[in-house]
């Protein structure tokens, strides 16, 4: 086990997979100098500019070319810089990558990894701060990964590169410097297996990406008050670990979903609806979602902070669920 940052964990995953498989290559803007956040630092030196390839500012072509290159036997890692910019390539991702295998009757597969960093990033405002993971979970054919720890950033990215399906891989920009233990060796994290962040009997808190850390902080506070939260990190939104969530809520009888993204039509709604459908009889309180209001992200810090889901808010919501007298 070594302590590694989230950004370095991803860099290691790319390097290790590129050493393992000569058909893996990465393409995107500014990769030659290491990527906009430094996720590819040093990789061009090792693998050359053909395999760590700079690209024109041309998101549509970066993604479309990756689809063509994947259909003809290579395994591209596509760098979109910000998930916001990937919107310039939505046709290529949603109409082409996600559907090619199906609409061509299984004649082809599209093994691409689309890295789309998400999340509020201080004063980056409305076009560099979105969390749009729910959009992609809605699209048949796509896998959606949202790692919250360095270990998962590495293990899930390795899984994504090996996967024959197109994977939307959403790292959180605020997590780049986060350090954590990363297992030694060739460790791959399976998609669709949630991580238990901490165990508790009173309330289930489901989250993913950076909001996991907010939920964990809240759980520590709650624990001091005698309320034990079962905190689940989904790790991937498609597939998602429905079984782990249902098992937890069967025990606690209470569900709180915590997400950074806009709450309306977010993935929390899917989790909440699934639990409500399956466990109506055992719920001790109505399911509850916490997320951002349906407004764009502001530039000014106080306005930006206004939409942020805080640990205090999570603790308050959980407290409310637990103390609510229900039936």
């Amino acid at each position: 086990m070594a302590r590694v940052s989230y950004i370095e964990a991803g860099r290691q995953a790319v390097a290790e997979e590129m050493r393992r498989d000569p058909l893996v290559w990465a393409v995107g803007e500014d990769l030659g100098r290491g990527g906009v956040f430094g996720q590819y630092t040093g990789l061009a030196d090792e693998f050359g500019s053909d395999r760590i390839s700079d690209a024109p500012i041309s998101e549509s072509c970066i993604l479309g070319a990756a689809v063509g290159a994947a259909m003809t036997g290579t395994r591209p890692i596509v760098e979109m810089r910000f998930s916001d910019f990937a919107l310039c390539a939505v046709d290529e991702l949603v109409n082409q990558a996600a559907k090619a295998r199906y609409m061509f009757g299984g004649q082809t597969r599209v093994p691409i990894v689309v890295r789309e960093p998400i999340g509020m990033w201080r004063s980056s405002a409305a076009q560099h701060s979105q969390s749009l993971e729910a959009w992609y979970a809605h699209i048949p054919g796509l896998v959606v990964a949202v790692p919250s720890t360095p270990a998962d950033a590495k293990g899930l990215l390795k899984a994504a590169i090996r996967c024959d399906d197109p994977v939307v891989f959403m790292e959180h920009k605020n997590l780049w410097p986060l350090e954590g233990e990363v297992p030694d060796g060739d460790v791959v994290v399976d998609f669709g297996k949630a991580r238990t962040v901490r165990e508790g009997r009173d309330v289930t808190i489901v989250s993913w990406s950076a909001a996991v850390h907010t939920a964990e902080e809240a759980a520590k506070t709650l624990s001091g008050e005698g309320v034990e939260a079962d905190v689940i990190d989904l790790r991937t939104l498609w597939p998602w670990d429905k079984a782990a969530v249902l098992k937890s809520v069967e025990t606690t009888g209470r569900l709180l979903v915590v997400q950074e993204s806009v709450s309306v039509a977010g993935f929390g709604a899917e989790v909440a609806a699934t639990v409500a459908e399956a466990l109506h009889g055992v719920l001790k309180a109505p399911v509850r979602r916490l997320g951002a209001p349906r407004i764009p992200i502001s530039y000014a810090p106080p306005l930006e902070d206004e939409v942020r889901v805080t640990a205090d808010a999570v603790a308050a919501a959980a407290r409310d669920l637990v103390t609510r007298i229900n039936r």
């Binding site: 041309s58 689809v67 259909m71 061509f104 048949p140």
Partner: protein
């Protein structure tokens, strides 16, 4: 210009030209059968015939090897057949039946046969251009001796992927030939009314990709220029071919095309590429009876394909759940 005057009678390779004539007849008769089936509601959804444009598909694809790659548009039957796809499997695909090229999941607009290097027709105009650039990129990365031909219509030049894909091919020096089939219409609108500047070839040249312009209704001319462009592209110089042609039907088989005068269409039928090549062959001494027999054989083949497709069973409904994805497969209860 009357039919048959535009191909040069000298230096004709008669056997090659006869094969091209036969292939053009097969494409024509395939689409005629498909239009009939569409009218009869046996083929559902939209089909986009390429009647009148067969010389481009045949002239270009005749210079490709089986391993070479093409990508096509929503008007892709001709390209697919010319690349060597099985006509019956294609017809079954149009009928949505088992044994179709895409198992009945794609239909006409997503016709594809990866076994012959046909990587798909695309329902989104210009979307195939970026994908084609990527296929050529992979060829270069793997050091393969292959080339990509990307077909698109004149309407595609007004979408971003046209600019982005051509730029990409130029930047990375990819083995690709972009073939713009200019039939004058972007769906039902005259393209020139919606296009600023000098048109497809001028735009390609502005990106530094040398463009050639050819009479797309003259299969000999297309064959000749395509051969040289494909060889240049194979060596890593992306090239562009503007093939001027005309769509003798409407945008879809259900489009009576009232936006153009009947006289215009009648005049264009005089430049039918199949009649043109037939006349050239007759002038070169081929017996008309032989050519008529070839055309009738194509017609019989496609009538048979129509009948067989009509009698073919639907795909098993369980297949609706297949080929979505491996991870999070919708057939798995766990998800």
């Amino acid at each position: 210009m009357p039919a048959g005057q535009s191909t040069r009678a000298s230096n004709l390779n008669i056997e090659r030209l006869k094969a091209q004539f036969g292939e053009m007849c097969r494409i024509r008769e395939f689409e005629r059968a498909a239009i009939t089936a569409s009218t009869e509601k046996l083929v559902l959804g939209a089909i986009h015939p390429s009647i009148g444009q067969e010389a481009v598909a045949v002239g270009v694809c005749g210079n490709l090897k089986r391993d070479d790659i093409i990508l096509s548009t929503h008007r892709g039957h001709g390209h697919t057949m010319a690349k060597g796809a099985d006509a019956l499997a294609m017809m079954r695909e149009l009928f949505g039946r088992a044994g179709g090229t895409s198992g009945g999941k794609g239909g006409s607009m997503h016709i594809a046969d990866f076994s012959v290097g046909m990587l798909g027709a695309n329902g989104v105009v210009a979307a195939n251009i970026n994908i084609a650039a990527g296929a050529a990129h992979a060829i270069k990365l793997k050091g393969e001796d292959k080339v990509v031909v990307c077909f698109f219509g004149d309407g595609a030049i007004n979408r971003g992927p046209f600019l982005e894909g051509l730029n990409w091919a130029g930047v990375f020096k990819l083995p690709i030939v972009f073939v713009c089939e200019d039939n004058g219409f972007a769906a039902t609108t005259r393209t020139h009314a919606m296009t600023a500047g000098g048109g497809p070839a001028a735009r390609a040249e502005s990106i530094g990709i040398k463009a050639e312009i050819v009479d797309g209704n003259d299969v000999v001319a297309v064959d000749e220029i395509a051969r040289s462009l494909i060889e240049e592209a194979r060596r890593g110089t992306p090239r562009f071919l503007l093939a001027n042609t005309y769509r003798l039907t409407g945008h879809t088989s259900a489009d009576p095309a009232p936006y153009r005068a009947e006289e215009e269409v009648q005049e264009r039928w005089l430049n039918d590429p199949i009649e043109t090549v037939r006349n050239a062959l007759v002038r070169a001494g081929v017996a008309p009876d032989e050519l008529d027999a070839m055309h009738r054989a194509a017609e019989a083949e496609m009538t048979q394909a129509y009948e067989t497709a009509k009698a073919t069973e639907w795909p098993e409904t369980a297949l609706a759940f297949a080929d979505v994805q491996d991870i999070g497969d919708p057939r798995e209860e766990a998800f």
